[in-house]
Symmetry: D2
Subunit: 101 residues, 4 copies
């Protein structure tokens, strides 16, 4: 579902100087999702599984907010005048998806 | 963070008859999170990464709603009269965490 | 949009013993929404308007969680055996709308 | 709760050319909140009240996304170089509040 992504010319992604940090956070989330599978396999009480799902969801949303911050700060702010409008439209669509997810 | 989980006596979890389905969905989410790591490693454009984060978040929320449905249907509905009040309180706390996450 | 509301027989609403409390909270939210109109009329800085919108949204969600709590506690819990299944389905649809809104 | 609002110099708000539109939407939301009071007074079935609360919440979030769009498009994009960083930080804090509300 990348239909909103207009082919706006862009260089290095905004998160580039923090790649290691994002990779570490995503590996931790991957571990949480694997932990969820273990919980289901072991018939863990529903409510405890749900608490863990909420934690993973929050961690993912926090990654999204971080990526968005770097995108606006580095990519949107540095857009050339002719791309600026399109980049704001694109960023707003991503924000809207986030708010609604 | 299981502080809300009072030690209410409970038998098999509500999702038991759909364990395979939940495991399959969680494995797919694990794959999405690993895909996110690959995207970061390959310097994928921020907005495309964000679209993928939104998809994983939605998949997790959908798992949560499913688990909650089974919990209310099987565990809360079948609670003994003396546990019923406590189970509703516990389920509502889980719902509130979901709504706010 | 009340298409999910099956005509399940029901007596007094679950919130009945707290009507005054809910009315007071809704009147306060109405005041917040009127305050928002004033802010727009007076050209208040966007970010300050947004902070106020977030406050009103949170207050509404908190009313929703309260109503849902009373509904599950009083209506779903007291449903007759033949209505119980339908009431849980109906309540879960409301929870899903809440989580996604 | 305007603690995040640094005193960044700013001119006309970004929504200025659409004030009438926002006022109309907020008046409609005010009407929805008044309708909710009437529903409570008339002992309307909990689930129907909840459907209406979800509708009002969605309408408020949609106003927020609109205001944010205009703010980023008109205020952040036009910030002077020395204010740009502070304006992005401020906008991101507003976005984070929205995502979490």
């Amino acid at each position: 579902m990348t239909e909103q992504t207009a082919p706006i010319p862009h260089g290095a992604p905004g998160y580039q100087s923090h790649k290691d940090d994002y990779l570490k956070r995503l590996r931790r989330i991957e571990g949480q999702v694997r932990g969820l599978q273990r919980m289901i396999e072991e018939d863990t009480y529903c409510i405890d599984v749900l608490t863990q799902v909420s934690a993973a969801t929050k961690a993912l949303q926090s990654v999204a907010i971080g990526l968005l911050d770097e995108h606006v700060r580095h990519c949107v702010a540095d857009a050339s005048p002719e791309n600026s409008e399109a980049m704001v439209t694109e960023a707003m669509a991503a924000i809207e998806r986030l708010v609604k997810s």
